[in-house]
């Protein structure tokens, strides 16, 4: 089943990249991301005056011998990132004008990221949600967790409506104790204000949040040869419209929506990336990882 997502072509294109977490998170396992093994980092960061309660193991005794002042050595704490992938499995994600539906694209992307994290010995988990939390695999670096993650990703099927507020409230309580990397894969058919307002608290808690906005090409540039009766995938409501509207006003609205979402996301310190489902998957990953690397 994993082979479905671990496309060798995808792995080949990103194997020379490292997933570097920006945020230092608390973790019981310390180590250097660059190292393939777990361990404590020895890279010196700074000195500070000893205060009561500090661990005596980090007192620099040589300095104390020369100056009779106790200083604490601070090391650059490079630890494994805690990656949590949030997949929107609402009914609208089941739309696709071509072979690849949005939910498929989201699965591919999520699996690829999870695999990369696994290669980096990062803890990875997944949450599949629509208006409820459908699947939840806690982020962990244990062997076996990766497979559970992939299994949960694979089981993500579009079903109900999207409701960011309800599941994200749950995420806040789940992710507040540990900082890490949160990747959200969704078509974000919601008010940008509401979306950012819902997701922004994750950032407050020290998480690095990346939004992947996935849209079908037909959603970006719809093309109809005549009047059409459109049926909403989530609400089943019907609406008759014209090709002229789709070619002009709709495009303006979707572009405005994308632009607003990007602006508000960046303003809130969230990374935002919009991808059409006909763009190559590896290119999207490379773009994302380069951006992340640049922010280190």
């Amino acid at each position: 089943m994993e082979q479905r997502f671990l496309d060798p072509r995808v792995l080949a294109s990103i194997s020379n990249l490292e997933l570097v977490a920006k945020t230092v998170v608390d973790g019981f396992v310390a180590g250097l991301h660059r190292s393939p093994h777990f361990g404590f980092s020895q890279e010196f960061a700074e000195y500070r005056m000893y205060s009561e309660g500090d661990d005596l193991r980090f007192v620099d005794w040589n300095v104390f011998a020369r100056t009779e002042r106790a200083y604490i050595k601070r090391f650059k704490g490079e630890t494994n990132s805690r990656l949590t992938i949030l997949i929107d499995a609402s009914a609208s994600m089941g739309y696709g004008s071509e072979e690849v539906k949005k939910i498929d694209y989201a699965r591919f992307l999520a699996a690829s990221i999870a695999y990369m994290a696994n290669q980096q010995r990062d803890a990875a988990g997944v949450i599949v949600f629509d208006d409820e939390v459908r699947e939840y695999v806690t982020a962990s670096s244990r062997q076996g967790n990766f497979h559970r993650t992939l299994f949960a990703i694979n089981r993500a099927e579009p079903a109900a409506r999207t409701d960011f507020a309800k599941p994200f409230f749950h995420f806040q309580s789940t992710l507040r104790n540990r900082r890490g990397l949160v990747v959200v894969l969704s078509d974000f058919y919601e008010d940008p204000e509401l979306i950012i307002k819902t997701i922004e608290p994750l950032r407050y808690r020290g998480n690095d949040v990346v939004l992947f906005h996935l849209l079908d090409p037909q959603e970006l540039r719809p093309k109809f040869d005549g009047p059409v009766l459109l049926i909403d995938s989530e609400t089943e409501s019907e609406l008759e419209t014209s090709p002229e509207y789709a070619a002009q006003e709709y495009r303006a609205k979707i572009d405005s929506h994308v632009s607003a979402l990007e602006t508000k996301a960046r303003a809130a310190g969230l990374s935002y990336h919009m991808h059409a489902t006909n763009t190559p998957l590896d290119a999207a990953l490379r773009e994302f990882l380069l951006v992340r690397q640049g922010r280190m």
């Binding site: 090409p217 037909q218 008759e240």
Partner: protein
Amino acid sequence: MGFLAPWFLGAVALAGVPVWLHLLRQHKTTPIRFASLMFFERRMTTSTRQRKLRYYALLALRLLALLFLILAFARPYFERKVAAGGGKRMTVAAIDNSFSMRRGGALDAAKQQALALATRISASEPGIVVAFGSGAHESGQRAEDAATFRSNVSAVMAGDERTAYAELARTLRGLSEAHRMPLDVHVFTDSQKSGMPARFADLQLPSDAKLEVHDTAPAGLPNFAVEAVTPPGRIFDTAKARVRATITGFHTMKAVKNVEMLVDGKVQKSKTIEIPPSGRASVEFTGIDSGYGFHRGEIRLEGSGDAFSNDDRMLFSIERSDPRRILMLHPARDGRSPIYVKAALDAAVPNAYQVDAAAIESTSTPNLQNASFVILADPGNLNQGLEGALKDYVMRGGALLITAGSLTGATSKLAVSGLTIQESRLSSRNRELFQTIASREPLHPVLERTAGIESAKFYQLIAMEPGPAKVLAKTADATPSCLEQRLGEGRVLVIASPLDNLGNNLPLHPAFIPLMERSAQYLSRQEEATGVASVGQGIELRAANDRAGAVEVLDPRGERALSFEQAAKATSFAPGAEGFYEIRRGSGRTTLVAVNADRRESDFARMDADTIHLWKATGEPGADGQTTANGERVERRSPWWWLLLGVLLFTLAEPVLASKYLFGQGSSEFGEPVEVGSKEATV
């Protein structure tokens, strides 16, 4: 504006198709599932209006193409008035020079009256003289001065043709078209009723033609005429030769007349007959005293007492000859066939034929010089010399009757003719007992009098591949039983069964005598020797595919009646005057044909005034819908060519415009066009 085919306008209803495509179809929507309608709005009304406006040009283009096509089929026309001849008129003097105009100086009177028209002839208003009988032709050139016109009138000579006013009207229509001037037509004629065509429409005059009929015939309606002569054509026994004549009185009282028969200018017989009022009487002369060869005969009505003496005589020609020699070649063992053939021919026409029978085996160089035709009974395989001689004889115009028997059935090809023999079919008790003729050509000269031949029983038939031969009779299983083949100038008649009363019972059948008689006449070409024809009636000179040898025709004055080209190619000849015509064919045969004027010319009953009035009316302005009362000619102009050109242009422009509208909306004004190609999203 009018339409030549207005019923095509009914197709205008098809214009609804583009309208339906453009408007009604716009309201038809296809349901499509979409991710979210968050950014969509209902735009049905606006869409239709916008599309209607946007597609207006395309709709107009399609409608115009369709309407232009329909209009082109409806053949519209516009009428335009043009001055005909610039107000000038052409004078036409039509002089009847038919046979009937010979009576009482009628033709001279007509010419005198026509000369009176010369004073109105000028360069601006020219004149034309037309002489007409069964045909019409211009006499001289178009006259633009009085002298030329008079000369043309004087050049009209008396003829022996019959009157045909329809031909005159046709010629007048041609003159009007050629000169593009309105005509003043003056017809000088005896107004014979018999000259009227069967259809009055054939008298249609050209537009704006003024007709004036000048009756030039002298008084004296009653007329006696020799209406018909039936000569024997060819006589073998002078004592038994009979000539029958019919004397007719047109509008006459009961009369007793003396009729004479002249041969070579000498009165040989004379009889007195009584002719009933406006009736006919027949007279028959038996016995003609003449030598061998062609003779010029004449039936003359003495003392008719009417004003027209030209029809009181009728010419005929006769040929006295020895009995026709028929060479019959038969197998030595077959002595029966000559007996039956001789008996049949003697029974049909006594002394007309002399059958010289000879055994094939003992004949190598037959004397074909005097044979009118040859009968080849069951030839089998002929020796080369005999077959070559017979083939050469046929190719040069001779005739051959071949009967096929058991000897022939054993060969692969029929002698002389070369027809492929398929099999010899013998009836037996195990198969069919006999075969009969199921179908035949009833109008062929050989079979036209053989009624009942279908009951003759054939026990042996030699099946042949017809090839180039024409099948005249065949059995129920389509086996040819009688065929005719043309070889060179000659004829070959094939009977696919012997005449020995063994292979069939035909010799004992009643149809055998007329079959042999007609075959002998046909093969010796006696049907061409009737000796009497009418002026204007075609005389056959040769078959259409016969190009061998020239045919010479000498007219009554002894001059060649045909040009060199006609002598080489013409298949028929229509004599234009009475008299004896000598026809010398390429085969060396010479025939004498007596030509007489059509006796319908002897009936002087005239057209009534109403008929002439109606005839005049056909040329009045506006009668044909092409001429107005003030002499202007109405010309019709049809724009169908321009309509078709428009259809072509619209058809070429339509895909260009349609592509722009239908596919142009895929381009995005926000960036590069997005190639979607969705099956679902494509309506």
